[in-house]
């Protein structure tokens, strides 16, 4: 596989969003023809792999081959039905009482990296991220609140005291910049 094909592969692997040939061309500073030819190269070199190049009009993306769908579906169902880890349960609770909290703040409270918990909770529709870049904040989803039978976060048990405790801890630890 040539260098360009590998670069395209790295981009398609790192993002799940389909990429247009035009966008790839401008990102990699080569012509669209060169992209098209590299895509063929990539397609061929993936032949023995679990992934394949999927083309939709002018857009391309990587996806698993259909013969693996059943396996992935099983795993996915298993993931969705399994009990949440203590880390995820705590993260969910913190987000419920302090909507808009950042990843760094959750990590400060829990003392461990929150990436996997946040991903697992998002995939299960329990939390959602809003905002972008540095100001991404996490919120409980409406479905999550409905599941608990509350109409709004303020109806969660001991809402005010709990929220205040989180606020106090976070405020004490904000660095004066």
């Amino acid at each position: 596989m040539n260098k360009l094909a590998t670069q395209i592969e790295s981009l398609l692997f790192a993002t799940a969003d389909p990429q247009s040939i035009k966008a790839l061309s401008s990102r990699l500073s080569v012509s669209e023809e060169e992209i098209s030819s590299a895509l063929q190269d990539l397609e061929t070199s993936l032949q023995n792999h679990a992934m394949m190049l999927v083309r939709e009009g002018q857009e391309v993306t990587l996806a698993t081959r259909p013969e693996h769908s059943a396996l992935i579906e099983t795993i996915r169902k298993e993931e969705l039905s399994k009990e949440l880890s203590k880390a995820s349960a705590e993260t969910l609770s913190i987000i419920s009482y302090y909507g808009g909290i950042s990843k760094a703040q959750i990590e400060f409270i829990r003392g461990v990296n929150a990436s996997y918990s946040l991903r697992a909770l998002s995939m299960r529709g329990l939390i959602e991220a809003r905002g972008s870049g540095r100001s991404v904040g996490y919120y409980p989803t409406l479905q999550m609140l409905e599941h608990f039978g509350v109409a709004k976060v303020e109806d969660l048990p001991e809402f005010e005291q709990t929220k205040q405790k989180i606020t106090k801890l976070l405020t004490e630890n904000i660095e004066a910049q």
Binding site: A89, G111, R124, S135, P157, L169, N173
Partner: protein
């Protein structure tokens, strides 16, 4: 909320430790780590403490290292100096600690230079669409206690770097002056033995004198600070370390010179 989120940084301080200081002193002299080079930087190490002072939480570890250095130096000047097992262990421990720190310090230079420069990125999870999948084992009534439980495990904020380091509040030369006399009297018999042994070498006698003064002084200072630490309630001080520094009591010093 958004500005607060953006500004959120945790107060985190990194402290200079005694082993780090010691290795710097040895490397400055371009010598290998062994008991001879450790003995040769003893004065520099003590001068460093006097000049820069120490942070309250590292007082006991700095003093225990200083005490061990003095033992090493004393041993190199007094061939017949008998050391207790514990003292011998603290000497070989110190040599190992500096050697280990040297290895780690080298490795960390590479890590610091490479961190985040060429990242291997995880793939993006493929889009399956979100399926609402709650976990029935999490009960509404437990939510707030899960939060409180997590909050309770957060350690107190990292100690701030104090404006004035501890040692600056004490005049070391005053302590030395008083102790000089006291120790000279108290150990006069032993001192005679030492002087006989180091006959004709005034310089050596002088050095021994200084060492003994320092040993005594360090012990007193250490005791003083143990009290200060307790009243200030610094939770970070490891008890093990305090035990280690306690091994250098006046009794053991005196018995070593008998």
């Amino acid at each position: 909320m958004e500005t607060e989120t953006a500004q959120f940084h945790i107060k985190q301080e990194s402290f200079e430790g005694p082993i780090e200081v010691l290795l710097e002193l040895i490397e400055k002299r371009k010598v290998f780590v062994n008991d001879i080079s450790l003995a040769s930087v003893t004065d520099d190490f003590i001068a460093y403490i006097q000049e820069k002072g120490m942070l309250p939480e590292s007082v006991s570890s700095f003093l225990s290292v200083a005490a061990t250095l003095l033992l090493i130096k004393a041993r190199s000047l007094l061939p017949n100096l008998e050391l207790t097992t514990e003292e011998s262990e603290s000497i070989s421990d110190l040599e190992r600690r500096v050697a280990l720190y040297q290895i780690i310090s080298e490795a960390s230079k590479w890590l610091s230079a490479k961190y985040g420069k060429k990242i291997a990125f995880e793939g993006a999870p493929r889009n399956f669409g979100i399926v609402f999948a709650p976990d029935d084992s999490i009960k509404l009534e437990n939510l707030s206690s899960l939060v409180v439980g997590a909050l309770e495990r957060v350690p107190p904020p990292a100690p701030k770097k104090p404006e004035a380091r501890v040692f600056k509040t004490i005049s070391i030369s005053e302590v030395i002056d008083t102790l000089h006399e006291r120790i000279q009297k108290a150990l006069s018999v032993n001192f005679n033995d030492i002087i006989i042994h180091a006959e004709g070498e005034d310089q050596k006698q002088k050095k021994v004198y200084v060492i003994v003064s320092f040993l005594g002084m360090l012990e007193l200072v250490r005791r003083g600070f143990v009290e200060a630490e307790q009243s200030a309630n610094f939770e970070n001080i490891s008890l093990q370390k305090q035990d280690k520094s306690t091994s250098l009591s006046h009794e053991s010093i005196e018995s070593s010179y008998e």
